[in-house]
Subunit: 162 residues, 8 copies
Amino acid sequence: MKFVSIIMGSKSDYDIMQEAGKIFEKFGVQYELLVSSAHRSPERTHQYVKQAEEKGAKVFICAAGMAAHLAGVVSSLTTKPVVGVPMRGGAMDGMDALLSTVQMPSGMPVATVAIGGAINSAYLAMQILAIDDEELSAKLKEDKILKAKRVETDSMGIEVII
Amino acid sequence: MKFVSIIMGSKSDYDIMQEAGKIFEKFGVQYELLVSSAHRSPERTHQYVKQAEEKGAKVFICAAGMAAHLAGVVSSLTTKPVVGVPMRGGAMDGMDALLSTVQMPSGMPVATVAIGGAINSAYLAMQILAIDDEELSAKLKEDKILKAKRVETDSMGIEVII
Amino acid sequence: MKFVSIIMGSKSDYDIMQEAGKIFEKFGVQYELLVSSAHRSPERTHQYVKQAEEKGAKVFICAAGMAAHLAGVVSSLTTKPVVGVPMRGGAMDGMDALLSTVQMPSGMPVATVAIGGAINSAYLAMQILAIDDEELSAKLKEDKILKAKRVETDSMGIEVII
Amino acid sequence: MKFVSIIMGSKSDYDIMQEAGKIFEKFGVQYELLVSSAHRSPERTHQYVKQAEEKGAKVFICAAGMAAHLAGVVSSLTTKPVVGVPMRGGAMDGMDALLSTVQMPSGMPVATVAIGGAINSAYLAMQILAIDDEELSAKLKEDKILKAKRVETDSMGIEVII
Amino acid sequence: MKFVSIIMGSKSDYDIMQEAGKIFEKFGVQYELLVSSAHRSPERTHQYVKQAEEKGAKVFICAAGMAAHLAGVVSSLTTKPVVGVPMRGGAMDGMDALLSTVQMPSGMPVATVAIGGAINSAYLAMQILAIDDEELSAKLKEDKILKAKRVETDSMGIEVII
Amino acid sequence: MKFVSIIMGSKSDYDIMQEAGKIFEKFGVQYELLVSSAHRSPERTHQYVKQAEEKGAKVFICAAGMAAHLAGVVSSLTTKPVVGVPMRGGAMDGMDALLSTVQMPSGMPVATVAIGGAINSAYLAMQILAIDDEELSAKLKEDKILKAKRVETDSMGIEVII
Amino acid sequence: MKFVSIIMGSKSDYDIMQEAGKIFEKFGVQYELLVSSAHRSPERTHQYVKQAEEKGAKVFICAAGMAAHLAGVVSSLTTKPVVGVPMRGGAMDGMDALLSTVQMPSGMPVATVAIGGAINSAYLAMQILAIDDEELSAKLKEDKILKAKRVETDSMGIEVII
Amino acid sequence: MKFVSIIMGSKSDYDIMQEAGKIFEKFGVQYELLVSSAHRSPERTHQYVKQAEEKGAKVFICAAGMAAHLAGVVSSLTTKPVVGVPMRGGAMDGMDALLSTVQMPSGMPVATVAIGGAINSAYLAMQILAIDDEELSAKLKEDKILKAKRVETDSMGIEVII
């Protein structure tokens, strides 16, 4: 088994993070998703990460806000790539979570995406899995071409060309 | 036994944090001081906090910079008061550490002092211990009077009074 | 008598700060709560702090916004621990109040919690009181276990486990 | 007697604030200058402000850094104009002091100048005194003309005119 | 004649700045109020300031947002005290206007109040006028006592005293 | 043919950027307007810029938000002046886009206007074209006079003159 | 005659801004350079801008720091393109000057370059002049090719290619 | 062939980024390293990315400062994971580069590490490669254990244990 594990620090992150799940479903990538807090349930977090890694988790996605420690804690427990999604909220409306997530000590990186970047966290996880997965790699290339085409379509309705 | 435990996330925090130790020595307060990282040595941190609490730690002081998770991790492991000292460094030169330290979820507070505030972390720990310690309380009151007198002395050399 | 004193710089802080009062009621901790401003009623503030300390206040909680001086003024008048709650509002929507509260001179610490952190100000005050109060300490430990369990419950409704 | 009172929160503010004194000497304006802290010597500050006002202080200049409460405290004690000089230092290198100084509640204004703005605090105090002082007013107008001329002189050495 | 002149950079500042006018009416202080822009009507601004000063303007209050140059321009044209009111809006929602207003070159001070601080701009102008006006000075002292009493009244409805 | 080319990074920028188009129509300046993304459609962007320059584009206006790379990419492809319009949104609500737009390496300038500054991007483009266009130059001068008159009209309804 | 006019708010800006002059000399573009302050010498600034425009100034470059009003003032006086160079210094080390420069009211744009961006202010001015100057346009294209080649040379000494 | 490609936007990034190369050498991971700029050499960048991907590049590391577009440009050209390293410098000393790097549109993620985070960019690239490389995975696990042991050694020289 080979899957991506999505851990959210709070139930309130679900509205945003379920978008990542939808992307995985669209591309046929297996995933787990659960709530576990770095501070409120440290034991649960430790145990889950260990189990998930044994079961086949290849990438972790961790979403948290405020003093966003979750991705860092998971990175301290595994050598799998950890993608961090800082969530809006807090004194600086997510900038604080971004800095809490990205500024890790040497050897414990967190691959940080933008504030609330659920969709890009899923794309990044898929790009990582696609390194040795020709089929997924082909799907990602096709998706990129579609995105470029969408720009043309978006433009058509409004463009002014002399 | 009754003591304050000072945990530093990195050896490089020692230059600043030893000032807290000196304050404790001046006021006759027992303390422990060690390096243990939230990310690089999570097991060591967990074990130490449990042991220290059993041995008599009444207050924890945690100093860390960057994505400063140490105070938060310790607060998740104990119900003793945890004083957080955000350290300079990082993208916002300590403001990031300050926000990583202070913005904790409900029920896991960190009593945060200023960036690099080793001395005030010691004073705060002593004010906490002094709640039920008449002798320490008296020392703190006397110290406050001395600080007010020092202002007068500071002024004397330079003041211009008509 | 042994109680926590909650001072608010403005009546408008009451909506948030009454949450601290509710926490104290839930845990059976005595408290006082009043409005007194550092700037608008400096005499009242000075007199109240002196009286409250004599009457048995063990911890002060001070909530203020903007140029949030209240916690600092109280810390200058007592050697009891002062918990500062910076309130939203102002040019930087609370970050200014946070920095006005946390950056105190040596010997006059303010134990600062997050912006609008009424609930954690109450938890921190209780952790301080619990140092010599076995009963309160036991309640705080139990509360911590409940919080970890709540995470599991939160997760159940939404989690995806393969 | 009619004079300006300069109060500094710390002896370390003297290097900058003596520039204000020099300006007053150049323009023949009487002044007092002393150290008194909002936090470390609250009694001294209260007493001095009351005495100075009785003795003839027409404007107060207050310099402080970090959680810069001094100007606010003085404004709460007098109805004379209070000029606030936020000093460099602190987590945001003076921006925090600027916001601590300028964001006062209604009815307790602080006339804030730039960070480290000792010279402009003196000019502002003189502009205030000059409202009913023809002689000082004339000196200020003359000074303004000289400043405009200095720009021309500054330009001469380096300007390139076709 | 002796009056305060309120200049607004835009008609949209009127909602806030009319509060200053109301304060002046309450205290019986004469004032003028008009729109004149530093950038859109530089000639009008120059002419008005010169005329107003001749007619008896003792203090100028200038309100502007964004690249808030109005107070600075007025300060460059007169030696009367200029009170600057930075307005909300712009990339940093007023912080940019605050810094554009307060950071003036030596000899051209702007007495800056908080963002949107119309009321305190009026109080500051009155404190300046009151230096040589016993009657106005008495009114300001009385107002200060009323403000302190209001804090007590505010507290009564909600306070919890043991 | 001589025209201004407006490129938007996203269809969602149209609501704001069509204001630039309206200004051009009012002043009789020819323009093109389309959507093309630096990241989603890099080929399209490259090709369009080359073609537009050959066809007579004299100035490019590029609007983008977040990691706003569009103006920079266009500046790397042409030696015509590129006006950058940072759009609201992102972690710092446009400040990030402003800095992404303005901080270009030497030799690849972007003439940056304010966040959401569609109208000024059009004015700046017209000022550039007007250098060798007497008729357009005259229209811009007339417009400036009208703007000054509008200030007077704005003031009339609300001004208080003694 | 056709030239670029460089105005600096202070003599201290010369070290940086002479770089713009050197670029103009290298490309054979005529320029003037002088000191004139928005605040300290408003008359001089007004007169110079009017004269320079009559004499043949096609683009103005204005460099100023702190409450950087110079570019805005010049933009209010002319319909020629005004390039603004915010200078380092001030509470936010140039960010404040950047925002003071870029956030202009509608119809008075300032083409803003990066903080201290003297070289790019010159490139931008040349790109503007080159719209109707084939020779200068050719030089700019050639320069762009050289810059790309320099990247290759820079890489050679250090690159690792398998 | 299977390698990591390190692209730097400027030669000046080499001092920091060679640290990534050293980490790869220590762990026996193949890599390429070169200078290519998003703005100064767009053609070179496009061509290199295409060639490198064909030759076996599995992960790209892109380092750039200021308006840091390089990682975004590379992410727009490939579906391989792109690790972005924002470099110090610019108006916000790297924060601007961090936001320019991390805030990418959907489908074009950049796995961002801390400002100047060369070492963690290498670790992240190795964690990605290790997903299907047992040997590298084992080395990373061993390295993690060594890092935890180093904390103990660091502590020994300075710790105070009662």
